[in-house]
């Protein structure tokens, strides 16, 4: 219901030459019509250009594209983030400050910088290192979108992980283990890392939300035909397609669950393997 309310927001406000008008009636009517359409089957079609298309046929393709980028980026970003956290915790504050600053830098600037850098390298050296956007079904951008989606996850996971590992290092159980002569890799993997992973598990929703937010920007800027493109495809012409946006949000919720599930699995597997070290 929350997703339907969110999808219906554009019906709440309309602008005309006389000014901005709140239209709660249109908002309520739109929601009511959508609920009825779910039962009549009308909710499963949408308009693309001049054609009527089936959401049931098209949605799996959009969903697959989003999953193909979001899942590897979340997995690799988190894994590398934990590795960076292990290397930087207890380290110099300047390194941590740099990682923290990276987390604050807007992600769209990173994407633009990656695209501009690629164009610049291509123009100055003649070497094409990556495709800056998907042009056709055969000419698909892969490397840059994956990099752009992975880096923000890596930075946040590294920051959260390093902070959690710092706390675990100062805890009584670590000091006790060190006093008993346990050190090196065993102290790190058996005593410190599991506690860092538990803390990171508490921030999984935040990490997943970051992947979803970046997916909107990456799919738009790299021209990837994913779920978020479908959500935003109602565009400027014609009437607002509440059913299309709602279906897109439902598909996006599935992407969210898949990313969240995968990251949970990663942290559980890492936790289990280090305990048995």
């Amino acid at each position: 219901m929350g997703l339907l309310l969110l999808a219906a927001i554009p019906l709440l406000v309309s602008a005309d030459p006389e000014g901005l008008r709140f239209t709660p009636l249109a908002f309520a009517e739109g929601i009511g019509r959508q609920i009825v359409a779910l039962f009549t089957g009308e909710a499963f079609s949408y308009t693309a250009g001049f054609r009527q298309r089936s959401l049931l046929q098209d949605l799996p393709g959009f969903l697959w594209t989003s999953l193909r980028y979001a899942l590897p980026a979340a997995l690799v970003g988190s894994f590398l983030g934990i590795a960076v956290a292990l290397l930087t915790f207890r380290g110099r504050r300047s390194v941590k400050d740099l990682v923290a600053a990276g987390g604050l830098l807007p992600d769209f600037l990173l994407i633009f910088a990656l695209q501009l850098g690629t164009v610049w390298i291509s123009r100055t050296t003649g070497v094409r290192i990556a495709r800056i956007a998907t042009l056709t079904e055969e000419q698909v951008a892969v490397g840059l979108p994956l990099t752009a989606l992975t880096l923000p996850v890596l930075v946040i996971a590294a920051r959260l992980g390093a902070s959690a590992l710092d706390t675990a290092w100062a805890a009584d159980f670590t000091r006790h283990a060190r006093a008993r002569g346990i050190g090196g890799l065993r102290l790190l993997l058996v005593h410190i890392l599991p506690h860092g992973l538990v803390a990171l598990r508490g921030s999984l929703h935040r990490l997943t939300a970051l992947v979803i937010a970046d997916l909107f920007i990456a799919e738009y800027l790299f021209n990837l035909p994913g779920v978020t493109r479908l959500v935003l495809s109602w565009g400027e012409v014609g009437d607002y397609q509440l059913g299309l946006v709602f279906a897109g949000f439902v598909a996006l919720a599935l992407v969210y669950l898949a990313v969240y599930g995968l990251l949970r699995l990663l942290l559980s597997s890492l936790g289990a393997s280090v305990v048995h070290f």
Partner: protein
């Protein structure tokens, strides 16, 4: 690493850059080398002894340091005219968010209304820019509203989406502070909520509020930039259905970036200069923020 007495390099550099950008925002329109109606649509040039006619956009040159856009307008002049809108929006929204967040966070924190706090904190999984995009897209593209009216509406929406999470985080901090002996003593002596806020909470939170304001400033700039990418420009977007081109009505920096994003491959200087400008804006505030945090941390460590 700087000592507690020596000035933090980030703080000095961040302060200088923010100050310079504020001056540019105020004096920008007067400093712009070309007027708002001056466009160089066709340019004649002698190349290898032959006269050739050049059409916009033109790459950076002595006459146009940042080049010209597809309509022949000088990009540097557009940026100097548009900066005040970006700065005004970011400052106004961040300040309003902190003020309203505090106004809402104090009764929540002191009253310990956990259920309300949970309600305000819900919905954190959906990116804020999607809510703003859905709320503003239809009224921003080819808007019948005036630039001023639309700008104000957009700022109100930007404030509205940021206040609930901020008030929740402030409420948690105020709840923790309310257990301090100073506040318990003041409360037992019959101090009212307004008095507690003015005399005790605000002085205790002064530095945190400043850091919070700067963090919000970065977040608001990020949000404005994301909206710009999706062609929701501050002050309004002019959309030409025949060509599919988008134009910012105010020439604010996120708008200049968003309107030129499709020119990345053919004319990279079109998005490059607004991108560098926006990056400078964000990095300046971030340097100031990190510098203040560093100074605060050192002071706490004695």
């Amino acid at each position: 690493m700087s000592t507690s007495d020596s000035p933090d390099l980030r703080l000095v550099l961040g302060s200088l850059l923010v100050l310079a950008l504020l001056v540019l925002a105020v004096a920008g329109p007067a400093l712009a080398p070309y007027g708002p109606d001056e466009a160089e649509r066709v340019l004649s040039k002698i190349v290898d002894g032959e006269e050739v006619t050049l059409y916009p956009p033109q790459p950076p040159s002595q006459a146009h340091w940042f080049g010209t856009d597809v309509w022949g307008y000088d990009i540097l002049s557009s940026m100097l005219r548009g900066l005040r809108f970006t700065v005004l929006a970011a400052l106004g929204v961040a300040l309003s968010r902190v003020f309203l967040g505090l106004a809402l966070g104090v009764p929540l924190g002191l009253g310990r209304r956990r259920l309300l706090v949970l309600g305000l904190g819900a919905g954190g999984g959906m990116p804020a820019f999607i809510v703003v995009y859905l709320a503003l897209h239809r009224s921003t593209i080819n808007s019948p509203l005036s630039v001023e009216s639309l700008f104000l509406v957009q700022l109100l929406v930007l404030v509205f989406v940021g206040v609930p999470p901020l008030s929740v985080s402030l409420a948690a901090r105020i709840e923790a502070l309310s257990a301090s002996p100073t506040l318990i003593a003041a409360e037992s002596l019959g101090a009212r909520r307004l008095h507690l806020t003015r005399r005790h909470l605000v002085p205790l939170l002064r530095e945190e509020l400043l850091v919070l304001f700067l963090t919000e400033l970065v977040l608001v700039l990020n949000l404005i930039g994301q909206l710009g990418i999706f062609h929701v420009f501050l002050g309004g977007t002019i959309w030409y259905p025949e060509t599919g081109a988008y134009l910012s009505r105010t020439q604010e920096w996120a708008g200049l970036l968003g309107q030129s994003r499709d020119a990345l491959l053919a004319h990279p200087w079109l998005p490059a200069f607004p991108l560098l400008g926006f990056l400078l804006l964000v990095v300046s505030v971030m340097l100031l923020l990190r510098g203040l945090e560093g100074r605060w941390r050192r002071r706490q460590q004695g």
